[in-house]
């Protein structure tokens, strides 16, 4: 069983957004992707719109686009992923976070219950 913590907001495209602007992919998404081997992160300072392609997570088999769950400016990226991309698999809500956004407008996001219902 994959987990969906309450207190986060979720995009239909499987990104989570924390109140402080931290973004990652969900446990469900990492489980679907399988072994993550490479993560391409955006540049700090980039201004993005909700729904824009902003990062790429590559598993052994395939490359998957990551979309911005909110509009805003990238304030930080998770440099640990360059050496240990498998953190996305092992700790998708903690050490495997992708980047932080200074959010201006949120996209169309769900709470944990709605996200779980959508992916059952």
């Amino acid at each position: 069983m994959t987990t969906t913590p309450t207190g986060l907001k979720y995009a239909a495209s499987h990104e989570w957004l924390a109140a402080d602007g931290t973004v990652g992919i969900t446990d469900f998404a990492q489980d679907q992707l399988g072994d993550v081997v490479y993560v391409e992160l955006p540049e700090v300072g980039r201004v993005v719109e909700a729904g824009e392609t902003i990062a790429v997570v590559e598993s052994v088999k395939t490359a998957s686009d990551i979309y911005a769950p909110a509009s805003g400016t990238i304030t930080a990226v998770n440099d640990a992923l360059s050496g240990t991309p498998e953190l996305v698999n092992s700790a998708p809500y903690e050490g495997g976070w992708l980047f932080k956004l200074d959010v201006t407008i949120e996209g169309d996001l769900m709470d944990a219950a709605a996200y779980e219902a959508a992916n059952n």
């Binding site: 399988g34 072994d35 790429v56 590559e58 052994v60």
Partner: protein, 356 residues
């Protein structure tokens, strides 16, 4: 793979077993197939270090019989089928009439005037039509036995020792490409010492109705179930070309440097195959970023080819790829591969990447 949305995916005799095992199923060549069970890397490692079992029942089997069987097979393939003896198997190509390959195939000699061939799942209908068309004038009977057989590939260094207690045949006496009837867990099967992973192993031809029982027994004696994901990373490390990627109707087959498959004889399309290919298949290794099929391969900003298969190698821990590049560039050592608009350096390495 193109799949018409109105056409239901076909199922192998092991479909229920895959679902029970919690496999992630994907459409592949018209079939609903397991891409992974526990995870690609774990399954890949199991085959490299121990033993794994793949369901390859989606592949097609055609029986070729009659006094003209050998002459017919010599006409439609590039390798020398006359070198086969009963109980031996041979890798071979089905050339097209105007260059390119209809498919790559395995031919198993059952007896004089009787052969079994195994073809790629996505090409079954195309191959069947091609062979029917070229059978005219030969005393030969073709039978499509694709639905009759379950086909399991058991692969990895522990394969022989895990199988031996459950069969009546001394497996150590059977060399690569041996093909023989045997009892396995009490069932009548055909075993072939062949495979597609770069490891030692066998392929098990079993009656479709008995395939699930044999599969379950293989798991019970220590084989790890492995899906299409691991099959692809294993074959790519072993440098094996795959139809639809390194081979096609339009790619010159000698680009793959498998020139030994073409023997000095007259066959369908022979005049095209003997023309020198303009592209060469090379191996590339990258530092970090995985490259995928279709990505441009460049020299000094100029596109000189494209990636045909790419992955992150579970064995080596870095990305590897095969690429078709212009023949005149094939001896260079450093290329760039364009990934999402950015060029990344790639070093040419000898194929295969992995050799047992």
């Amino acid at each position: 793979m193109n799949q018409s949305p109105t056409e239901p995916l076909k199922r192998t005799p092991l479909h229920a077993a895959h679902l029970r095992a919690g496999a992630r199923m994907v459409p592949f060549g018209g079939w609903d197939m397991p891409v992974q069970y526990a995870g690609v890397k774990a399954e890949h490692d199991a085959v490299r270090n121990a033993a794994g079992v793949f369901d390859v029942s989606h592949m097609g089997e055609f029986r070729v019989q009659g006094s003209g069987a050998l002459a017919f097979l010599q006409h439609v393939t590039t390798n020398d089928v006359s070198k086969l003896k009963p109980g031996r198997a041979q890798y071979n190509w089905l050339p097209g009439v105007s260059g390119g390959l209809v498919d790559d195939i395995y031919i198993y000699m059952v007896a004089p005037d009787e052969y079994l061939t195994v073809v790629n799942a996505s090409n079954i209908a195309k191959d069947w039509a091609h062979l029917q068309r070229h059978a005219e004038g030969f005393d030969v009977t073709l039978t499509d036995e694709s639905d009759r057989w379950g086909l399991l590939a058991v692969q990895g260094p522990q394969t022989e020792s895990l199988l031996q207690p459950h069969t009546d045949t001394d497996l150590s006496s059977k060399k690569k490409n041996a093909f023989f009837p045997a009892k396995l867990f009490g069932f009548d099967v055909m075993l072939a010492r062949t495979g597609y992973t770069g490891e030692d192993g066998f392929e098990v031809f079993v009656d479709a109705s008995e395939a699930e029982t044999v599969w379950d027994k293989l798991l019970a004696v220590g084989f790890t179930s492995a899906g299409l994901g691991a099959r692809d990373t294993l074959r790519l490390e072993a440098g094996f070309p795959l139809y639809g990627h390194e081979f096609s109707d339009t790619i010159h087959p000698l680009s793959s440097t498998y020139s030994w498959v073409v023997k000095d004889k007259t066959h369908v399309g022979h005049e095209h195959i003997r023309a020198a290919p303009t592209q060469t298949l090379i191996g590339l290794k990258l530092d970090r970023v995985p490259v995928r099929e279709g990505y441009p391969v460049k020299i000094g900003g100029e596109v000189v080819g494209h990636v045909t298969s790419g992955t992150s190698s579970p064995t080596f821990g870095h990305p590897i790829a095969m690429a078709l590049v212009n023949a005149e560039h094939a001896t260079l050592d450093i290329f760039d591969v364009e990934v999402r608009g950015k060029d990344h350096p790639a070093t040419r390495v000898q194929l295969p990447f992995y050799k047992r």
